[in-house]
């Protein structure tokens, strides 16, 4: 890995450090972790619960800072990421890594004090998996990078559950499995319309290695698996009628969009003149990418809503 950042012309602003933490990713992590914590149905001091969620969000931010530090070389080569604080020179790579390490230690340490060692251990594993296993190894070496690496993004509900109860039962892992299977169609839809970016940076994303047609087929396959898996909480004593309705209706829309994408030519190259690629039909990919975020949000929001209004699960 090469040092890509030059000394900036102006000092970093506090917003640059916030950007290192990937606040949008943090918000999704907080939401799914909160769902896991609430679904555990274990009485917990509200302040300790808030501190647990804070630790999970800071841990996610630490992962983001480490990722941006380690990935600054390839981020500088991609249009989508070249304006990030490290490749643009606003923050030194060593500062990003130091921030990531300090926040990791803080989040895991406070989590252990505030809740239990199971939750703290899972949080430490998640940070390590994302920053080291995914960022330094999988992302640069295999087209299955986001399939396996997706585990890091899928673990927050399990951490939340463990923070509340000290255990990780099957239903916690079911929430993890839903996010795990959701990740490939979500990111592959994105990678279909930024494929040239990944190719320029040498990141072996599926569309770069196997082509757009194969990626569209894989997206459809994972979408079928996701929609089926998302219905499972209704039968496992986790979800109630609201959840079932949301999972069924959302699943139908998800499959329609995935089917439309599979039949489209999204991501196909029409001209390969020295990297000047023209991408056809990216709208189908953008639609699925956008809807996938809303779909996951609605699934978890339904579970949260059922807990707060006291609606019992369909199966006890």
């Amino acid at each position: 890995m090469t040092e890509t950042t030059a000394r900036a012309a102006a000092p970093a602003r506090w917003q640059d450090y916030v950007e290192l933490l990937k606040p949008r990713v943090m918000s999704l992590v907080v939401f799914t972790a909160l769902t896991g914590l609430v679904c555990a149905r274990t009485p917990m001091n509200p302040l300790l619960a808030a501190i647990a969620i804070l630790c999970i969000s800071v841990g996610a931010g630490a992962s983001g800072a480490l990722n941006m530090g380690f990935d600054s070389d390839i981020d500088a080569l991609m249009r989508r990421t070249r304006h990030r604080p490290v490749p643009s020179g606003r923050v030194q790579r060593s500062d990003a890594l130091a921030l990531g390490v300090i926040l990791s230690l803080f989040s895991v340490g406070v989590m252990a004090l505030a809740t239990n060692l199971v939750a703290a251990g899972l949080l430490a594993f998640t940070i390590f998996f994302y920053a080291v296993v995914y960022t330094l190894w999988l992302k640069r070496s295999t087209p299955q990078n986001i399939v396996i690496g997706g585990l890091a993004g899928a673990l927050p509900p399990v951490i939340g559950w463990a923070a509340a109860s000290g255990t990780t039962p099957l239903n916690a892992w079911l929430l993890c499995a839903i996010i795990f299977v959701w990740t490939p169609p979500h990111f592959w839809a994105l990678s279909l319309y930024v494929r040239d970016d990944y190719a320029a940076a040498g990141v072996p994303m599926l569309p770069v290695v196997k082509g757009a047609a194969a990626t569209r087929r894989w997206i459809l396959l994972y979408s079928l698996l996701l929609v089926a898996l998302a219905l499972a909480p209704a039968a496992s004593g986790l979800g109630g009628t609201i959840y079932l309705a949301v999972a069924a209706a959302g699943g139908v829309v998800f499959l329609i969009l995935a089917g439309r994408l599979a039949r489209s030519s999204a991501g196909d190259l029409t001209g390969a003149a020295e990297g000047l690629y023209q991408v056809k039909g990216p709208k189908e990919a953008r639609d699925l990418f956008a809807f996938s975020i809303g779909y996951l949000f609605l699934l978890f929001a339904a579970l949260l809503a059922e807990r707060f209004i006291g609606l019992p699960p369909l199966v006890r």
Binding site: R7, A10, P11, A12, W14, N45, L47, L48, I51, F106, V110, L113, A114
Partner: protein, 49 residues
Amino acid sequence: MSQPPEGPAWAKARRRRSLAIALALGVFVILVFIVTILRMKGHVADIGF
């Protein structure tokens, strides 16, 4: 090891960063104190008389 950049803008930025680090450390200490009190409180009921 390169010299840190000089100038009023950089000095101001360093001062701001020092303050932010001090503030973060203060928050950390308070957080650990609160967690300790809450955890101890949770075990008070365990003591039998």
